[in-house]
Symmetry: C2
Subunit: 178 residues, 2 copies
């Protein structure tokens, strides 16, 4: 009935008691990953709050910067990348328009489509967030040597490959997102 979360090793020990066939090495990786991501998001969330930005807006900003010049994307494409419904995008963009972070105009090539563009204000906001985020990220990796950072990046990239280029062929159980 403890108030605080058990340590990762405690968690895995209990999981194994519940389900003997579980591989503790695999569980350690997977659960550490998910714990880390939660912590990172809490940290980002706090920094965003000090910049009057919600994490919803931040996600969209990131996608727009991520495509590079000229910082344009269709709403549906953003929605798919973020795993949201198009309806949610409509509303997010409404809000971001009001804050001057993005523009919305009809696509001349296909008038059903809409083009979302990043404003200078939006790009500046992205930069402000990244400046703070990079301080946190550096702190997070503090204990790792240069070699270890590269090693970790490589291992994670190899996992990512499995899951980002997953063809759902051959009874594949892996996820496709786009």
């Amino acid at each position: 009935m403890s108030e605080q979360q058990p340590s990762l090793d405690e968690q895995i020990a209990i999981y194994q008691r519940e389900y003997r066939d579980l591989d503790p090495r695999v569980e350690k990786v997977v659960n550490a990953l998910s714990r880390l991501d939660r912590r990172m998001n809490v940290a980002y969330g706090r920094q965003l709050a000090t910049l009057d930005l919600g994490s919803a807006e931040w996600e969209v900003l990131k996608e727009l910067v991520m495509v590079g010049e000229p910082y344009q994307l269709w709403p549906g494409s953003i929605a798919r990348r973020l795993g949201l419904t198009p309806a949610a995008m409509t509303h997010r963009i409404d809000r971001m328009l009001a804050q001057g972070l993005v523009t919305r105009e009809r696509d001349p090539d296909n008038r059903v489509r809409v083009i979302i563009g990043l404003t200078d204000t939006g790009r500046e906001k992205w930069l402000q967030v990244m400046r703070r985020a990079s301080v946190f990220e550096e702190e997070l990796l503090q204990d790792l040597s240069g070699d270890e950072r590269v090693q970790l990046g490589d291992l994670l990239t190899r996992l990512l490959r499995r899951v980002e280029h997953a063809q759902p062929d051959a009874g594949g159980r892996l996820t496709d997102l786009d």
Copy 2:
């Protein structure tokens, strides 16, 4: 204006163009982590759906199993662990009660408090999910040797330590969650 997400390396290259001081090794780790977590959650979400379970319910189930016997927790404690408001917990538990996954009773020691307990149905549900999840997880780590799995687990654990035992003393920017 591409339809699909840029690769991790493309993403980082663009980030660096926007913000020169960014350390690509750090960015690679952090962004790979966050991409992986998103993919994993999509995969889990699909498996949960086939078991008529929402990810909200799954999160609560996990916390209850994670504390071990006798599988009891206060609503506020669950809320803090999951980063939710107490109000959200009230509603989640309402739903889970209706599905017979948990019980809710007053704490005899402090009648303001409430004790949420796992039912046998709930524990069985957890097991069903884990049986499927472990297949996916094994597939995810497929390309890593036994040594590499341990190595990855260790590196991630070291990051986690930085962030889970963070005292916000000394101007610390790291997050505290509980």
